[in-house]
């Protein structure tokens, strides 16, 4: 049928676009890695980081579609746990976030999964689950409004916020 020919042509064009766009994305990643603010696609810079106390960063970062804690993230969370043990009156909210490159509903779940990864780690370092609330914002509250791999890496995060 002639109609199916049209679809085939459309597919061919789409495929061509894909091939082209794939190259473009790779280049972008490469440029940002050079700036030294990312390892793989996990943010390693400090631009957006705030501090709960001296030497206690408030956030950890994740790779695309992942909720695995990196070595640096675990170090941050151990510092948070130590600070929380010293300040037993303080409760926290763990706010999980995703970048804009995913569907809204899946990203809500992903943000929740990331915040829970941080929560589990705090709990293994002696913080009671009663002191921790988890809240996912999905992709609704980016810190960086850029549409590039570096901005996205800053937005894939779990932020520990004082609740009281």
């Amino acid at each position: 049928m002639r109609l199916s020919k049209i679809f085939k042509n459309t597919l061919l064009i789409l495929t061509a676009c894909l091939v082209l766009s794939a190259c473009a994305t790779k280049k972008e990643v490469a440029t940002d890695s050079i700036t030294g603010q990312m390892q793989g696609d996990v943010y390693t810079g400090t631009d957006t980081v705030e501090y709960l106390a001296d030497g206690v960063p408030d956030r950890v970062f994740f790779a695309t579609n992942e909720s695995i804690l990196t070595t640096a993230s675990r170090e941050t969370l151990r510092a948070q746990a130590a600070w929380l043990r010293k300040n037993p009156g303080i409760n926290v909210v763990l706010e999980g976030h995703a970048d804009e490159r995913g569907t809204r509903e899946y990203n809500l779940a992903l943000g929740e999964r990331r915040a829970n990864a941080a929560k589990d780690y705090l709990m293994t370092y002696g913080i009671s689950s009663d002191r921790i609330t988890v809240l996912s914002y999905g992709k609704e509250r980016p810190v960086d409004s850029g549409s590039n791999p570096l901005a996205w890496s800053k937005n894939r995060r779990s932020v520990t916020v004082k609740a009281n």
Binding site: L18, T103, E112, D120
Partner: protein
Amino acid sequence: MLKIIIKLILILIPFNSYALIEVDITRGNLNPLPLAVSPLSIDENSRKNFEKILKKENIGSEISNIVEDNLRTSGLFNPLDKKAFLQAPDIANLKPRFEDWNLIKAQALITGKVNLVENKLRVEFRLWDVLAAKEMMALAFTTVPNNWRRVGHIISDKIYERLTGEKGYFDTRIIYVSEEGPKTQRIKKLAIMDQDGFNNKFLTLGNELVLTPRFNPTSQMVTYLSYFRNMPRVYLLDIETGTQEVVGDFPGMTFAPRFSPDGKKIIMSFAKDGKSDIYTMNLENRLVERITNHPSIDTSPSYSPDGKYITFNSDRSGYQQIYIMKKDGSDVKRISFGNGLYGTPVWSPRGDLIAFTKLHKGKFYIGVMRTDGSGERLLTENFYQEAPSWSPNGRVLIFYRETKTNAKGEGFSAKLWSIDLTGYNERQIKTPTDASDPSWSSLLSN
């Protein structure tokens, strides 16, 4: 689309087969059916009265403009320029001079008239086959004058149905999320409008984040996600009365709500301890039922139109893919196997297709596949777009598209778009603010 054209041909063949065989779908752009929408005629007395009530100089022309716009927007019809019309509206409605309409190549003609009868708007219209010189349909409605836009939509639906053999989708509304402000602090409100973008109304004030509103297919109820008091929960909203309530009593975030086809249940995800599962709540007896139980993220559930199956997306294979299962959660089967990630499956109201969002190599696609995952067809590709919602007749998809920001993070926008199931006729739906998460209502009439 092919089906529609075949139906068009079938319907009109008895009148004149030669002209319609020329409908050419092989060139990639379809030849929409040329037709003439003659302005609805109106007597001077009625015209003046309506001008007072509705502040419209000629309500007859206004209503016929709605019909013309709807038919053009569908991509199936080509309403001809009124300047070329030879016959006056009132006389055309009594007895068209078919030679005149034939001369300007109109294959169908719509005529009609408007009156004020006991403070009500009375509209009659007729659809004529120009080539066969025959009346195809005649109907009359009486309603309150303020309903004049809906009258235009109902006429459009009747004509669409008569000429294509399928139900129309013009007398419908869209609920969506209105967006304003910088990307890092977006203010989002629920908003509702007619399918053509008119009668826009905001339903929330923007004090809390709201997402993913969806219509009940059988009533004027909406379910959506609200961050009221910073607790993301699924809510139920009656858009007639404005009353709202939380759906269920879950100790954590509920999200991704949708109604069952009979409107009696809400299906949604509940996230706890890093996993999200699918639940339903029966709105009559409030009973909550767990449908999936898996350490993965299971979300974006959508029922088949017969209510027997559910499609959803899950990352149980490692990445986001589309699955179907029976309504009780048994017989889970993965159906998406192409390259890339697949999300937001929505079952077509016709039952035969599932629309979805696909992410592959940095691009987002809206596509459709059969319910067994075969016949995947991508309709449109962009930097970011997602969340297709079907027109009630299963012919058109509405979705939202976001633009890429520049190096300074500027230039962000989110807009609603619609596209025909065939991949043709992509168009933006104008909204007063930026917009996302559209959901199409059922037909309001009939």
